[in-house]
Symmetry: C2
Subunit: 328 residues, 2 copies
Amino acid sequence: MTTRVGIYGYGNLGRGIECAVNSSNDMELVAVFTRRDPSTLKIASKNVAVVNVKDVASYQDKIDVMIICGGSATDLPEQTPNLAKLFNVIDSFDTHAKIPEHFANVDKVAKANGHIALISAGWDPGMFSLNRLYANAILPNGKDYTFWGKGVSQGHSDAIRRIKGVADAKQYTCPVQSALDAVRSGSNPELTTRQKHTRLCYVVLEEGADAKAVEAEIKNMPNYFADYDTTVNFISQEELNRDHSGIPHGGFVIRSGSTGANNEHKHIIEYSLKLDSNPEFTASVIVAYTRAIARLHKEGAVGCKTVFDIAPAYLSPLSGDELRATML
Amino acid sequence: MTTRVGIYGYGNLGRGIECAVNSSNDMELVAVFTRRDPSTLKIASKNVAVVNVKDVASYQDKIDVMIICGGSATDLPEQTPNLAKLFNVIDSFDTHAKIPEHFANVDKVAKANGHIALISAGWDPGMFSLNRLYANAILPNGKDYTFWGKGVSQGHSDAIRRIKGVADAKQYTCPVQSALDAVRSGSNPELTTRQKHTRLCYVVLEEGADAKAVEAEIKNMPNYFADYDTTVNFISQEELNRDHSGIPHGGFVIRSGSTGANNEHKHIIEYSLKLDSNPEFTASVIVAYTRAIARLHKEGAVGCKTVFDIAPAYLSPLSGDELRATML
């Protein structure tokens, strides 16, 4: 079975999806939808239509799953419910606090139109969420820890760029090694925000900007930096472009729990990711779940799902027999 | 919903199951079934029946899921299909090469009798298998590595104990740190058996035994030790009892893969376990899957399943709303 896919939005994530779809034998990219003038958008794939979003309805019978690559702040809360009227859809909505609301909105539309939808695919939410669930179900008596990084935080980099006098910036979130070690020892430490992560900033100043003032403004920024040990390095635009153009990320989900008549046996479950490209890895997760929901829809499933609702076998192109023989 | 559970076989695994069931609010242990004279078997739980296996059929309406705790070599190939006639069943069958055959046998009986069965629950097969599947589905272009240890291998310990002149023994399987480091670097090394694991043995000799001969026999034993760098330490029975009475285990499942137009971005997915008690952790996994199959059976599911076929949400006592709000 070939799954016919559309990509809605062609930024970093959309390009990652294109790449992941093209390296899957059972997937076919049908069209890329853009808010721009399609004639101005050059995509990597050959023989794939580039279409303005206003014409999306004409593709209703040509696409099995629409992969929506908008941002979580303003795009996805509108796009995913709207597109679920026309298509089976998948997104990477990552505003954790608003997931229940987004789920309800998408579920209603998807059910009313006989479609399946999957929200919040990626690695956090996504693979990290799965690992939290599995580990909690297995070790009910325990404690969860999630660490992020070392990786680029887009939101924090943007926050620095908005400061007066800043020409460009990249911010890395870094887990604190001693905190990781303490968690892995099974001692179940209580860790403050400051003890878990540090923030490392590379900043390019505009000509004549006051470095001390910029550094102080970064370090005291509420929510973003004030609760962290933050290091600010000023570098040239050339250095930023040369050394910090990548989008790496990663992190750790650890559950430390115990079993036994007197909880005398400790266990550590750890899942970690080390990613050269955050958007390409996110895209790879989304494409695996695209395969899953295409299959589930063929079986008659409708409504909104998350990674929690999908049996793992649906993600793989291999059959049940093949999976049991090679991976169990 | 309370799931009523039976335990069939009361060794290390059965006792671990008892412990895990008793710490789950939605589980009730109804009876322990034994091949021994029930009056001679003292179990940890109060007010739970101890019943001879010959009377198991009389419990057909009192038990939602029978957890079968026999060995994979000779017990489970008979017990699981037989008990699937009477009950929903779950086992930890771990002879990887024979899983397809066991699956087919159990599936046939379970379907014919309207029951659900889940085989090969635990950590390998089990959680390690799941992580192999997820990582392969996400990164189709990559390479898998599984390392075991540091942990006690029961089979290898038994093999040493069968040598003439050996009174007692414990064998630890240890992953080689330099091999782990090479895999984590993303270099996708080809690793021989010898390069991945070493074997560490603690041996108690019988009086008058020839230490050199025993050491040579261990190190040259085909399949078990000949392909590994093996260290043999001779110690007293007191030392063995004092320092090596635990059953720790663990290991690592790592997939190293790449994405991008020219595979220029590397990604490492790693799952690891560090377990003080192998049987108690295995039991904890089995009990989470027991919850899952009890629910699936209420929904009408029948036949044989594996961990690949179970959507993660079924493992947790939390509702879908709760899971999305707290773990996604």
